[in-house]
């Protein structure tokens, strides 16, 4: 929801060529575990506070990253605030988990989870988009909560209810590669680069590439237009409901894939992480924090969110003691500071700052010369 008036030279429809986008993100995804675990770990040793990441964290960040890349297509462009995307995340996870009992192929699990999540997004979207603004938000919230209570009660035969679903039997990738094993064995430094990480990172690149192409297709233009002047969209001959539904379903595809990856990664899911409204809210926070309306911004949001949730929560400070479950207070503080400093989110904020600095340096150079 970057409703700021002025934008710098690079406006919403970022034009990055595919190969640059893919190469840049591949490098970023390769560096992520190293920075998070080794660099932060070293910092932690110096300041004597455990701020380093652990080996599963990069995967978790990217999984949520995939979800919010899709969610951002809805919130950041069409401006529709869904408070029920846990419905698709959770469905992707449960379906992948249930399917693993029959075939453990990770790719089949992901495909099944994504397909079913997409299928339920159709009717939920069809009903929800009939209303706008806060009514839309509440309707989506209601659908999410319906699934939550279904998973706890009547659906317990499938979801194992409040005990959580733990009978996940993920097999080998393509029947050959053990997900937990490093891609290159025997080298300590590369031990965090497991087949699982490779698979998730590859899907993240596919997700980014797809989102970028959608944004640069006619749909991207129409989604953005829907966020700015819906009446005008219908008065140029475009069926508003159809495109809103499409944006909703596309975002659910990403959420479903993310849910399936989540259960592969965690081997466990509970209705609270799958369907509860707080999960839906977390997607909103990640997206806004990172920068709604920018392609990669929300991934930064996922990074900060998961870092605070998983690392800062484990930090023990001299006077305060262990942060533990108070991590949401810390997150709230981080959120306020970031949104105060960068109203458009951290990524667009940093981008504008870099542009500003570069301009200053150039102008200064020009004056001297």
């Amino acid at each position: 929801m970057s409703t700021e008036a002025e934008e710098g030279g690079t406006v919403g429809g970022i034009d990055i060529s595919d190969s640059v986008l893919i190469a840049g993100n591949a490098v970023a995804l390769f560096l992520l575990p190293w920075v998070l675990i080794d660099v932060f770990g070293m910092v932690g040793e110096v300041i004597d506070i455990a701020v380093g990441g652990y080996s599963g964290l990069p995967s978790l960040i990217i999984i949520y990253g995939i979800v919010v890349i899709g969610y951002n297509l809805l919130l950041g462009y069409t401006g529709m605030l869904s408070f029920g995307h846990a419905a698709f995340f959770g469905t992707g996870a449960y379906v992948a988990g249930v399917v693993s009992g029959t075939t453990g192929s990770p790719l089949v699990m992901i495909l099944a989870g994504t397909v079913v999540a997409t299928l339920i997004a159709w009717p939920i979207g069809w009903i929800s988009i009939r209303r706008t603004g806060v009514y839309f938000a509440v309707i989506t919230l209601t659908f999410g909560q319906m699934l939550y209570f279904w998973a706890l009660g009547p659906g317990a035969w499938l979801t194992n209810g409040d005990d959580g679903f733990s009978s996940v039997q993920t097999g080998q990738l393509l029947g050959t590669f053990e997900l937990g094993a490093p891609v290159v064995g025997g080298i300590e430094f590369l031990s965090v680069y497991t087949w699982e990480y490779l698979m998730i990172a590859t899907l993240a690149i596919v997700a980014l590439w797809t989102a970028n192409r959608i944004l640069n297709s006619p749909y991207g233009l129409i989604f953005e237009a829907l966020g700015q002047n819906q009446q005008r969209v219908s008065f140029v001959g475009l069926d508003v409901s159809r495109y809103k539904l499409m944006a909703f379903i596309i975002s659910a595809v990403f959420a479903g894939a993310g849910g399936a990856l989540f259960i592969i990664h965690e081997s466990y899911i509970h209705p609270n992480t799958a369907y509860y409204w707080i999960q839906s809210g977390d997607f909103v926070i990640m997206t806004v924090l990172g920068g709604a309306g920018s392609l990669v911004g929300p991934v930064f949001g996922a990074f900060i969110f998961e870092y605070v949730a998983n690392v800062i929560s484990g930090v023990s400070l001299p006077v305060i003691g262990s942060i533990g479950s108070l991590w949401r207070i810390v997150l709230g503080g981080v959120f306020v500071v970031i949104i105060w400093a960068f109203p458009k989110g951290i990524y667009p904020g940093m981008r504008d700052a870099v542009i500003w600095i570069v301009d200053r340096v150039r102008n200064r150079g020009g004056e001297q010369g």
């Binding site: 008036a5 934008e7 406006v11 919403g12 429809g13 797809t210 192409r213 959608i214 640069n216 297709s217 006619p218 749909y219 991207g220 233009l221 129409i222 953005e224 237009a225 700015q228 002047n229 009446q231 005008r232 969209v233 219908s234 008065f235 140029v236 001959g237 475009l238 069926d239 508003v240």
Partner: protein, 252 residues
């Protein structure tokens, strides 16, 4: 056969009858003006035809097809486009993108979009966009964010959006409202050019009598939801009933 034909069109809001049995037929290639005092039902009439409101009773025929009660996007696809009273644009998109959307809308019926195909590669859309922006003199401003245009340019961008839908009939709701005399003159020239070059049928709602009498082929006078006269400009000027109801000698 006339291009647009309304028959006994009625629109009621609760107890208020805003449009009261309007039967109007508009010939292809003409400029039809609709005038009347504030609250006469001009905008309501347009909204009933363009699909924003559903008429209470009566029918609207376009090109011989009944389009009564269709959704706005369906009516636009049939060939009726509208420029709004307030510049209805996409403020945070570039001028070119504003027009592109309408051009995509016009193509909507002929093919399905590909999710992964870059919009730069739709040649017909790019071509339409350029032609429309040139016709309203905004081509040089195509990369400016629409909200940063001066008011008169926003209105012309609005007209370009309406034209990019490739309409046969164009509704213009007070196209010169709030414009400077210079901008008004440019807009009138534009309307005349459009009609000559594109053979467009235009329905114009306007308060500026100078504009009306200059461009219209026919003027319909709406008073309390009914048409009290519909004739060539010189006849309207002499019509006593019209003088009484609306002109009152003051505005001419």
């Amino acid at each position: 056969m006339s291009l647009l034909q309304t028959t006994d069109l009625v629109k009621q809001f609760g107890g208020l009858t805003a449009v009261d049995g309007v039967s109007l037929s508009i010939e292809r290639g003409t400029v039809q003006a609709i005038i009347g005092p504030n609250g006469a039902g001009k905008t309501t009439f347009i909204n009933c035809v363009s699909g924003l409101l559903d008429p209470t009773s009566g029918s609207v025929q376009f090109n011989g097809d009944d389009i009564t009660g269709q959704d706005p996007h369906e009516i636009v696809q049939q060939g009726i486009s509208k420029s709004f009273q307030t510049a209805s644009i996409f403020p945070r998109m570039s001028v070119a993108e504003n027009v592109q959307i309408a051009a995509f809308g016009a193509e909507h019926g002929s093919f399905r979009f590909n999710f992964l195909k870059r919009r730069e590669s739709y040649d017909a859309v790019q071509e339409t966009t350029e032609r429309m922006l040139r016709s309203v003199d905004l081509w040089d401003d195509r990369n400016i964010q629409a909200q940063n245009l001066p008011y008169g340019d926003k209105r012309r961008l609005e007209i370009a959006i309406a034209l990019a839908s490739e309409p046969e009939l164009l509704f213009m709701d007070e196209p010169t409202a709030g414009m400077s005399p210079e901008e008004t003159r440019q807009t009138v020239d534009l309307i005349e050019n459009l009609q000559e070059e594109l053979g467009l049928t235009i329905v114009l709602v306007e308060h500026d009598m100078e504009v009306i009498f200059r461009v219209s082929d026919k003027i319909a006078v709406l008073h309390r939801g009914s048409i009290i006269a519909n004739a060539a400009p010189e006849e309207i000027r002499g019509d006593e009933q019209v003088q009484e109801a609306y002109l009152g000698g003051a505005e001419i």
